[in-house]
């Protein structure tokens, strides 16, 4: 199971596929590379736009029979020698996981860490029901945030939608909208509100809906350093069976490095699967 469909994730996919493995690629949407105006340091392809490069990478993977599935990976749980992946509220199983999440580790908002699980949530469909009849602030930083706010509204949560962007067209007209950024999440033991500029919004819940999710929030116990996933030269993380590659493992945040690391992660994950299979045979 590959999480991320940027250069690292797709390179890992190609290399696991060439070793005969079954691959699924889960992607949160357009990778960062697609926005790059020009890439001049990818060997052999001088003067190419990020969009062109990304399109050719995607074409390569599609030609091998795999297409990234778009949606949100909320969390991953190891269980025995397998992994359960929460993808759009559906539980998928995998024997190995490759994290190719990109580099946009979000900067936490004051109060966020302390109040996580005490009113702060990253997932409306997961925790929304706990706030029925209560007030909640939705901080919309992701593409699907308005949809999640509408869901909360539909189940009876009193929602206020905060975003630094324009009011999203798909946001229900019944939901109040405030333009701004959340400067602080308030509350000592549980959430009491959020501060947006000079305004205090009273709320029992604050939903932070971002496109990116910190890797160690995705997977409990994953070793991190300065916001990046710690890996060894075989792209193994601190959790056996989990590999990481590309920008999420650290600088330089370049396509060549991502593709190279993706190759190693894909090959090592394939090797890991072979080892599991061998052990299973021996066990039988």
């Amino acid at each position: 199971m590959i999480i991320g469909a940027g250069p690292a994730g797709l390179s890992a996919a190609v290399n696991a596929l060439t070793r005969g493995k079954t691959v699924r690629i889960l992607s949160g949407g357009d990778p960062f590379l697609k926005k790059a105006e020009r890439v001049d340091n990818y060997l052999g392809l001088y003067h190419v736009s990020g969009e062109e490069l990304m399109a050719s990478f995607l074409e390569h993977v599609k030609a091998m029979g795999v297409e990234p599935e778009i949606g949100r990976v909320v969390n991953i749980l190891p269980f025995g020698d397998k992994f359960m992946v929460n993808f759009n509220s559906e539980i998928l199983q995998a024997k190995t996981v490759i994290l190719a999440l990109g580099a946009s580790s979000p900067k936490p908002i004051p109060g966020e860490g302390k109040l996580l699980g005490r009113g702060v949530s990253y997932c409306a469909t997961c925790d929304g029901m706990l706030y029925r009849g209560k007030e909640a602030v939705v901080y919309g930083q992701s593409d699907g945030a308005a949809g999640e706010a509408n869901f909360l509204h539909s189940i009876g949560v009193k929602v206020t939608y905060v975003t630094a962007r324009e009011r999203p067209a798909e946001l229900s007209p019944h939901i109040p909208y405030l333009r701004g950024t959340i400067a602080e999440i308030l509350g000592s033991k549980t959430v009491t509100g959020a501060r947006v500029g000079d305004r205090i919004l009273e709320a029992q819940g604050v939903f932070l809906l971002r496109n990116s999710i910190a890797p160690d929030t995705l997977m409990d116990g994953l070793e991190m350093k300065s916001g990046f996933v710690v890996v060894n030269s075989a792209m193994e993380t601190s959790i056996p069976g989990v590999f990481a590659c590309g920008d999420c493992t650290g600088k330089p945040l370049q396509v060549s490095k991502a593709v190279g690391e993706g190759l190693i992660a894909g090959q090592q994950a394939a090797k890991h699967l072979d080892e599991i299979q061998k052990e299973e045979k021996e066990y039988v």
């Binding site: 909320v74 969390n75 749980l77 190891p78 269980f79 359960m84 929460n86 509220s89 559906e90 539980i91 996580l116 699980g117 005490r118 009113g119 949530s121 469909t125 997961c126 925790d127 029901m129 706990l130 033991k189 549980t190 959430v191 819940g205 409990d220 116990g221």
Partner: protein, 110 residues
Amino acid sequence: MSDLVLHPSVEAFDRLLESEPLLLVDFWATWCTPCKMIAPVIEQLADQYAGKVTVVKVDIDEHASLADRYGIQMIPTVLLFHKGSLVGRQVGMKPAGVYETMIEEELSVR
């Protein structure tokens, strides 16, 4: 599904709270995907610590009063009680090892 995991009423829960040396409580709901993900982990713990730890599940929609009593703001939340006193709390979905450590620490001081 493990037979060792109990689904008590509020009254039965209160009795277990008093009677059981160690009670592990998994607060969950049918609509919660991470709760479904840790369900096999909780069942495994019930088997692993059979005779040492009593394991119960509380559906927060059925027993909202229990969820309110313990200030459950996110599920899954797993609580550990020693003869009625709260001795451990894990909020959110955690790998098996985290719950094992919480239980082992309690077992070691008893």
